[in-house]
């Protein structure tokens, strides 16, 4: 036993020594970039393929990390465990920027290389006037319908039309329209349609209380005609099985809908009758972040990689590979991209879509709004009381962040 212990201690000692050994970067080290991600294989395959030809002298390693944000909070600035860069949606920018692990992107880019980017994507990736993420592509929710059941002339242009359609087509296990009705990400579109928002740029929750309450009130008529379940799988499957005529869903649903043999139509978001504004969903900008250590010690490699990623060619590749809407507007000049219905409708929705807030305070709002929605929609509680409780919870949680 004692021998085992001494072996064990020796191993620990050796390992800690070897960990301290690497301080200066060798030439090969400086050209190796580790990128964490949690994306679909198709996206990464397209990136890998493009980068091997665009940056042949760099060694780029994509590592899939399913608990990416939690892991980054742990490893943060630590070069022995952290990646050099990572690909993630823009909504975590505030958290990581405040933590101090992100490098500003602009100094790493050639001048003017962002000139052709869709402004919405750059705005979304900017936190406290600094750009922290190089946008690659963006996603928004889309109004999708099954052409077999919903005819072109039936596609609702207003929410009242939608409600009428639902009333006429819901029942006996069929639904006129389904969405993840009690989930903050989906309900945000309704709040925006009523002129409100979940949180403003200064971190004040529900700046327009009336809009949120109106949205809740009006939306509850729709909830009554939808299944009592708000999670992704249920909604998704109902639509894919042809049991729901229409839905609001992300671009990731398109390939499964096509695989399921759905004759898929994509339409603009209906407008809210009371305000004349369209349901404006959140948009998420997927892009690449650079960590401080890499920006400082592997500057050349990082610059090269970022330069390669600003080329419209990769945007076109990604759009073709998995229907992403590229952040670089030059990509849309490509003929194939111009013909892609999905990419084009996403670009159209992007005109009205609201980028997810990227301030750290937003992190707690997902839960707060989720609670508010389940209280109102699923537990049938009073809107005013639930709203007051949610506001109190939001303020308490935001206070508790500091």
């Amino acid at each position: 036993m004692k021998r085992l212990l001494s072996i064990f201690l020796c191993i620990c000692l050796l390992l800690s020594l070897s960990a301290c050994g690497e301080q200066t970067l060798g030439a090969a080290q400086a050209k190796k970039l580790v990128i964490w991600h949690d994306k679909e294989d198709a996206v990464i395959a397209a990136l890998e393929k493009y980068l091997t030809s665009a940056t042949p002298d760099l060694e780029i390693v994509f590592e899939k990390k399913s608990s990416l944000t939690d892991s980054l909070k742990l490893v943060g600035n630590d070069p022995s465990a952290a990646p050099d860069m990572f690909i993630f949606a823009h909504d975590k920018i505030g958290v990581f920027a405040e933590m101090g692990i992100l490098a500003p992107i602009k100094p790493l880019l050639e001048e003017d290389s962002l000139a052709n980017y869709i402004p919405m994507t750059l705005d979304a990736a900017t936190y406290k006037e600094t750009l922290y993420q190089l946008p690659l592509y963006f996603e928004t929710l889309l109004f999708m319908y099954n052409r077999r059941y919903m005819q072109k002339e039936e596609v609702p242009s207003t929410t009242d039309d939608l409600l009428t359609y639902m009333k006429n087509n819901t029942g006996r296990g069929r639904y006129g329209f389904v969405e993840q009705h009690s989930t903050a990400y989906y309900f945000a579109g309704w709040i925006h349609g009523f002129g409100g928002s979940i949180i403003d740029e200064n971190g004040v929750p529900f700046p327009n209380a009336k809009a949120v309450k109106d949205a809740l009130n009006y939306h509850s008529q729709f909830v009554a005609l939808m299944p009592g379940e708000t999670e992704y799988n249920t909604v998704n499957t109902l639509f894919l099985e042809g049991k729901a005529d229409s839905t609001i869903g992300g671009p990731w649903m398109v390939s499964s809908a096509r695989a399921a043999g759905i004759d898929l139509g994509i339409a603009p978001m209906p407008t809210v009758n009371a305000t004349g504004k369209a349901l404006a969903p959140y948009s998420g900008i997927q892009g690449i972040y650079v960590l401080n250590y890499a920006a400082k010690h592997k500057t050349e490699a990082v610059k090269k990689l970022l330069a390669a990623l600003t080329d419209p060619a990769i945007g076109i590749d990604l759009a073709m590979a998995s229907g992403c809407a590229p952040a670089n507007s030059l990509c849309y000049d490509d003929e194939r991209v111009a013909k892609d219905e999905l990419v084009q409708s996403m670009k159209a929705t992007a005109e009205i879509a609201v980028p997810m807030p990227n301030i750290p305070e937003m992190d707690v709002m997902w839960t707060v709004v989720g609670n508010l929605l389940t209280d109102v929609n699923m537990s049938g509680k009073d809107i005013n009381e639930s709203f007051d409780a949610a506001l109190a919870q939001a303020n308490q949680l935001i206070d508790a962040m500091k």
């Binding site: 390992l15 960990a19 679909e40 990390k65 399913s66 465990a81």
Partner: protein, 281 residues
């Protein structure tokens, strides 16, 4: 005599029926997964379910075994499991024996503290353990996971084996000592064989913990080729849920089979030697 036998036969049949029904009910969710994993359609959420798969196919299993990295993950998990279980037993048994048989200052206090340690909600422990392992260079290293797993299960292993040792009468060892056996000999030759059930239950519990743990495995290990089965399955579920339910179900079942086989084999050794005429108190 015959009447008794008939009565007993009826009782046994009733008992068997009871267990068959119980097992069936208990396994409904798993049968469900099995049926989905064997069917060609993407049907975990299909509205018309039957326990007999539609379009019977083994494709999903084929995809699991050849398509994903399951074999690598299996190797990783197997290695971790074997080392963690051995290490756990190696450190728990001597400690448990000391705490059961010897009296020394601090013994009671430590035992009491060990129970109370369970009160800590370990949700935030990850951070501390990271801080601990990082300077040793054990992040993204198997040894790190082994230490975490062994340490987390050590309280249970120590306690569980100690509890069982307490119930083994000391007379046998004393007799052996009179015959000239050393401490170590008497533990190895007498106590351990008698404590088989508890050793095996402890080992199984550690094994299953390692087999199913995914939080540390996904956070501390980077890269799909270093994942364990549970971590790999978790990443499949988290990112590729978009459409491969049957594959996921097949993977879940595949992951469980080795544990069941091990359990089945272990049952033979679960009976203590004590029944074979040990010392009666």
């Amino acid at each position: 005599m015959t009447k008794n036998r008939i009565k007993e036969g009826i009782r046994l049949t009733a008992l068997n029926i009871f267990f068959i029904v119980w097992c069936f009910i208990a396994l409904i969710p798993i049968l469900y997964a099995a049926s989905v994993s064997l069917s060609g359609q993407n049907g975990l959420l299909s509205s018309e379910f039957s326990f007999i798969p539609k379009d019977f196919t083994l494709d999903n299993y084929k995809e699991v075994v050849f398509g994903e990295n399951i074999l690598t993950w299996f190797k990783n998990t197997f290695f971790l499991a074997v080392v963690t279980v051995s290490l756990s037993l190696l450190i728990a048994v001597p400690a448990a024996y000391c705490f059961s048989r010897r009296r020394f200052p601090g013994r009671k206090g430590i035992l009491k503290c060990l129970v109370l340690l369970n009160s800590f909600p370990a949700i935030l422990s990850m951070f501390a353990i990271y801080r601990l392992l990082r300077p040793m260079g054990l992040i993204n290293h198997r040894l790190g996971l082994i230490l975490v797993y062994t340490g987390t299960m050590a309280v249970f292993s120590l306690w569980n084996t100690k509890g069982y040792f307490d119930t083994i009468p000391t007379e046998i060892e004393e007799a052996a000592k009179i015959d000239g056996a050393s401490d170590i000999q008497s533990v190895l030759m007498i106590v351990l064989p008698l404590a088989k059930p508890s050793i095996i239950t402890t080992a199984l519990q550690v094994l299953i913990y390692v087999w199913n743990e995914y939080i540390y495995a996904t956070t501390f290990m980077t890269g799909e080729n270093k994942y364990t089965l549970a971590a790999g399955l978790y990443s499949l579920q988290a990112t590729e849920m978009r459409g491969s339910w049957p594959v996921f179900a097949a993977a879940s079942i595949t992951v469980s089979i080795p544990v069941l086989i091990i359990f089945f084999i272990c049952q033979k050794y679960m009976t203590s030697g004590l029944t074979a005429g040990g010392v009666k108190e």
